[in-house]
Amino acid sequence: RGIRVGYTPDVLTDATAELSVALLLAVCRRLPEAVEQVKNGGWTTWKPLWMCGYGLSDSTVGIIGLGRIGQAVARRLKPFGVKKFLYTGSGPKPESAEEFGAEFVPLTRLAEESDFVVVTCALTPATQGMCNKDFFGRMKKTSVFINTSRGAVVNQEDLYDALAHGQIAAAGLDVTTPEPLPADHPLLSLRNCVVLPHIGSATYATRSTMAVLAANNLLAGLRGEPMPHELLL
């Protein structure tokens, strides 16, 4: 119908990457659980293995989709003592990977070898439902799964099974299908699943910038001028 589309890439890279790392840390150190124990009186005395989580030191991090956000995530994780970065996608990206010494591997190997899996890819027909029973079945029992891309990249029933049966240790999701999840959704009943309300780009600074950019796209479109960021259809 000849309708032009503007969007706001790039300006939210840092905020989203930051949220991905924040979520990863909150999941692997069990922050929501720990906070709950403090409030409900579950914290009585201190025991050596109580509330233990998983450290990033000497770990292998697998990034699904080494785009702008994926790279910004890797950059932030590097000083946490990550031993190795793996990544997967439609093809290798040597220039992007070089900064982290990241190795391009098939999805299956990424699942098998990663202690932390971070999904930062676009949702396309190829990536829809990509994180499924086979994927979770290959992951380590001690591994953590983080999705800040789109809910539909994950098969939610398979993720539930994997978490409930201890096939993976924990998961953090900023995105689900639908949003919000219905109140009785099984994923919400799991202690080792942290769900956030799609706040990847939710900072005052970033949303302001996004809003201005969206407005400028709109004004340019109405005037028949080139847009700052046009989605070419």
Partner: protein, 271 residues
């Protein structure tokens, strides 16, 4: 001993005439009376360094969780009352903000290394200035006066040792010097902060928020105001809480104990 138990008092030492060594978990020794132990000829060891990475990681986790409102967000996402996610529900970015580290020891420095990757501006206050290479590796700027750090920081992180000098290091005056938009993060010891002053500062919006892995006492009594404030995250002293690190701590303690019992030089001895 794990955490602070058993409590080492004179009566206990008198009842254990053959006690040669106390191996304490963690790096902090503020819960122990060094003079008392030495007067009974009992040696002491701790587990420094092995806890530093996990504690620095937790400091970052608390800063990020507070700034991006993760605990609130999770509660909203799982609440049966949530019908939609409001578009104007926002947090503040950590990336590019100013972090003031009070206590640039092993843990403080590791926090700086991590914060640098978030493009944070890093200020630090320490008994001594670090050397130029160490400073430039993380882009840290020394603040000889803690006031300068407090006035400029968006996040103030405490990673000092608890000593008589650092007790109540952060009190009413220091909190008032902080920005009203600033967050206090404590991964050191509860007593480094004047807790009553902190409650007042949070209630009166003198500072924006706090994220604490340590309080005084631990755990806090059930009716403590800190547990009710919406802008406070409290975790139950889990700075070193990963299985790998707890195992390493235990191994360190065993090595120290074995050396102590056989009269050999003690690794990680506290003198």
């Amino acid at each position: 001993m794990w955490y602070h138990k058993p409590v080492i008092k004179e009566e206990l030492l008198q009842s254990l005439p053959n006690l040669k060594i106390v191996a304490s978990s963690g790096v902090g020794i503020d819960h122990l009376d060094l003079n008392l132990l030495s007067s009974y000829g009992v040696k002491l060891s701790n587990t420094p360094f092995v806890v530093s990475t996990d504690t620095a990681d937790l400091g970052m986790a608390l800063m990020l969780a507070s700034s991006r409102r993760l605990v609130e967000g999770h509660q909203m996402a799982v609440s049966p009352d949530t019908e939609y996610f409001p578009a104007n529900w926002l947090g503040a970015e950590v990336s590019g903000a100013t972090l003031g580290i009070v206590g640039m020891g092993t843990v403080g420095y590791k926090v700086a290394e991590r914060a640098k990757a978030f493009e944070m501006k890093i200020l630090y206050h320490n008994r001594n200035q670090r050397n130029k290479e160490e400073e430039s590796a993380v882009g840290a700027i020394y603040c000889k006066k803690i006031d300068d750090l407090l006035q400029q920081s968006d996040f103030v992180l405490l990673s000092v040792v608890l000593t008589p000098q650092t007790q109540k290091l952060i009190g009413k005056r220091e909190l008032a010097l902080m920005k009203p938009t600033a967050t206090l993060i404590n991964i050191s010891r509860g007593l480094v902060v004047d807790q009553e002053a902190l409650v007042e500062a949070l209630q009166n919006k003198v500072i924006k928020a706090a994220a604490l892995d340590v309080t005084y006492p631990e755990p806090l009594p059930r009716d403590h105001p800190l547990l009710k404030l919406k802008n406070v995250i409290i975790t139950p002293h889990i700075g070193s809480a990963t299985e790998k690190t707890r195992r390493l701590m235990m191994e360190n303690m065993m090595e120290s104990i074995q050396a102590g019992l056989t009269g050999l030089p003690i690794p990680n001895e506290v003198l």
